[in-house]
Amino acid sequence: MAYPTNYRYTREHEWIEASGKTASVGITDHAQDSLGDIVFVELPKVGDKVEKGKVFGSVESVKAVSDLYSPATGTVTAINEELTTAPEKINADAHAAWIMKIELADPGEVDSLLTAQDYEVYVKEETGH
């Protein structure tokens, strides 16, 4: 699956789509593929402060549980409630299934993250294929 070029990516396999001061955050297709069938998503609460590189929730598959790291610092403005009853939406289309929306403290912060191309190279190096 292609990684959208208008998103930025983390080495912890989250994506962020920023537009001005607001941004959506999810996990990458590679992340959902490694986890397998996702059965639970632990969401933050609206109003929570999230910090770049810090845990804001978790995703759990049949096989394993994995922390979610925020790609940027900001305040949670919305959470994707649909994922509490249908976490498999992430498996179906990870790049469309956003987990939270945040108001960015510093929109410039996003520029330091990996581009789609960087991320693809990173995944190849990490998995060896």
Binding site: V39, E60, V65
Partner: protein, 357 residues
């Protein structure tokens, strides 16, 4: 792919939940060639089998198999095994991959006093497990053997995919009806049979199943996994496998220690089933706490159960906590999460019209 006892094996093919559900509702096929095969032959073979395994092999008829285990003198596990009586003076042990070399050395060292010949045939066979309520219909298309006549934990010989004298056993590790077949291990033959099984099961929605589904299926059925529920530091009574341990058959490896455990009123800790009531999944190695927060035991296996749609786990806890309904907690990522002791197995296959013993 993961390295599993030296074997490259897929954790999943199309997806763990789909594979799990295929076995519960239709049919799935597993390549379980990593399982080892040890044969004991000769006039002393029954005596040897009786000495090194805890079930009573003298009750077996030719064509019958039994779940059993090899024990250390302490009553703890070398490995759990399936013993097949191929003929008088000829027994086949099917053993685990991770313990193969240890098992073979153990059998050789313990059996040599009995006048029997021990052979490791693990590399000669590809073992395929065809499991699920539609397993019989699937496999019947490929063999002349009358599968309906083979009862649970019995086996027969037949032509499978043109291969004569193939061992076909009604056994498995899924808690479901199914068969395990033992075919020559050369790649071309293995691949051909695999493809023919897939084709035969197509109309029943057959899926190839990986290690992930194998684990969740056996966990729903509360079947033990070496290194988790059973090990060299866990004894038979702790693991709740009493019904496969026949102390009355006479002395065998481990029987003396187990008799003492029994005389002392049973084990201090026991394996129980847990169901997570609140949010979270209790995973292998997590601590079990009492309601005051004291550590009392640990989880041996835990996962969401795809068919039961519950979050289940197996755990060792002290005797005072084994009653179904007892509330304890599991420490899940630093939070105590409430769980309830539930009866085992979590899943039991529905009784079917074609009755099996």
């Amino acid at each position: 792919m993961v390295d599993f006892g030296g074997w490259d094996m897929p954790v999943e093919y199309s997806g763990l939940i789909a594979e799990h559900m295929a076995v519960r509702t239709g049919v799935g096929v597993f390549d379980v060639s990593h399982m080892g095969d040890i044969q004991l032959r000769g006039p002393g073979s029954l005596a040897a089998v009786q000495h090194i395994s805890m079930n009573d092999a003298s009750r077996l008829q030719v064509g019958q198999a039994q779940y059993s285990a090899m024990l250390y003198p302490e009553g703890t596990f070398v490995d759990d095994i399936i013993v097949h009586k191929l003929s008088d003076n000829d027994y086949l042990f099917v053993i685990n991959a991770g313990t193969r070399e240890k098992d073979y050395n153990w059998v050789r060292s313990q059996a040599h006093a009995f006048g029997c010949h021990v052979s490791d045939y693990s590399d000669y066979y590809t073992q395929l497990a065809i499991q699920g309520p539609r397993a019989q219909e699937t496999l019947q298309k490929l063999t002349n053997a009358d599968l309906a006549a083979v009862k649970f934990y019995w086996f027969t010989w037949g032509t499978v995919c043109g291969l004569e004298n193939t061992l076909i056993a009604r056994t498995g590790y899924t808690g479901e009806d199914g068969f395990e077949i033992y075919i020559p291990s050369d790649e071309a033959t293995s691949e051909r049979v695999w493809n023919e099984v897939m084709e035969a099961g197509k109309e029943f929605g057959i899926l190839p199943c990986g290690l992930g589904a194998r684990n969740t299926l056996r966990l729903e059925a509360a079947l033990s996994l070496y290194g988790h529920e059973i090990s060299d530091s866990i004894n038979v009574f702790e693991a709740g496998l009493d019904r496969f341990c026949k102390l009355e058959k006479g002395p065998f490896l481990g029987s003396e220690a187990l008799t003492k455990v029994q005389a002392a009123g049973g084990p201090e800790r026991k394996l129980v089933g847990l169901e997570v009531v609140e949010r979270g999944i209790a995973r292998d190695g997590y601590r079990v706490l009492d309601l005051s927060g004291n550590a009392i035991g640990y989880v041996t296996s835990g996962s969401p159960a795809p068919f039961l749609k519950k979050k289940i786990a197996l755990a060792y806890v002290p005797r005072a906590f084994v009653e179904p309904g007892t509330e304890v907690a599991v420490e899940i990522r630093n939070n105590p999460v409430k769980v309830q002791v539930v009866p085992l197995p979590f899943y039991k296959k529905p009784k079917r019209a074609s009755s099996q013993s």
